[in-house]
Assembly symmetry: C2
């Protein structure tokens, strides 16, 4: 089990477009369980696939349990067990020695770009990259599980 402490920010589209970026990776993820306080997620990224159990979906700290599974299984489980899903391209980059993950959403969530930073403690200080805008850490609408049910374009 891992403790995940994350803060989440909206990303300015124009500044992000103009920024130097690494190559992104396509992610397809779906939810097998999506209750108020727990999710079971199936994520497929190329030939890698993971099952992730998360609890405590309030605040910025969660328990996370993650297991890699065979990609062939994942494709079948996705069809048979996933209730709601989304796709995005993820860019991983460092700013001020901290890792940021920037998700550019697709499909019904197109237009939404979200940046996340993983912290070692809830009060850890960090520098904001220039393309980062409003913080949305506490906003449940931006949970990926929520976006798979009520996508950005429907807001």
């Amino acid at each position: 089990m891992a403790i995940e402490i994350e803060r989440k920010f909206l990303v300015d589209y124009n500044k992000w477009q103009a920024a130097d970026k690494p190559v992104g990776s396509k992610l397809k993820q779906g939810y097998i369980v999506d209750d108020e306080n727990r999710t079971v997620r199936l994520r497929i990224a190329g030939t890698a696939a993971h099952l992730t159990f998360k609890t405590g979906t309030t605040g910025i700290t969660r328990n996370e349990y993650e297991y890699e599974i065979p990609a062939d299984d994942a494709a079948e489980l996705f069809t048979q067990f996933v209730k709601t899903s989304l796709e995005k391209t993820r860019y991983c980059l460092t700013h001020d020695n901290k890792l940021w993950e920037v998700d550019v959403f697709e499909g019904d969530n197109e237009g939404l770009i979200v940046a996340e930073i993983e912290l070692d403690s809830e009060d850890e200080p960090f520098m904001l990259p220039p393309w980062v805008g409003q913080e949305v850490s506490g906003d449940t609408r931006y949970y990926n599980s929520s976006l798979s049910v009520k996508p950005f374009k429907s807001w």
Copy 2:
């Protein structure tokens, strides 16, 4: 992914008591998902724990995807993700060169003993052990997922 073809029978209590038996192993299992056509099961057997995804819960053939996970994680996931659960002691033995699994249920399912044989095809012939009674393969009440919701003693 594995194909699971199983037939299930009630076991005669007195004949089973009188039979030569191997040592049994305690199983604790709970359901994270329990829909009509799919289940996600978490099973803990001593220090081993598995997540099992099953589909096609009609007839005697199912698709099964199983992954071992760390026992420490399993104990935490059991508390946080399992909705309904049951406990039983499982005895594995061979009869006429086929493996039989006999489950002696506990708690609210006490009094119920069920034997299962795994087959290579739906029409494979096999010999019945002397302690085997009525076949219940098609009876959804005897699905372990059902027994975790509506236990035997409540029938």
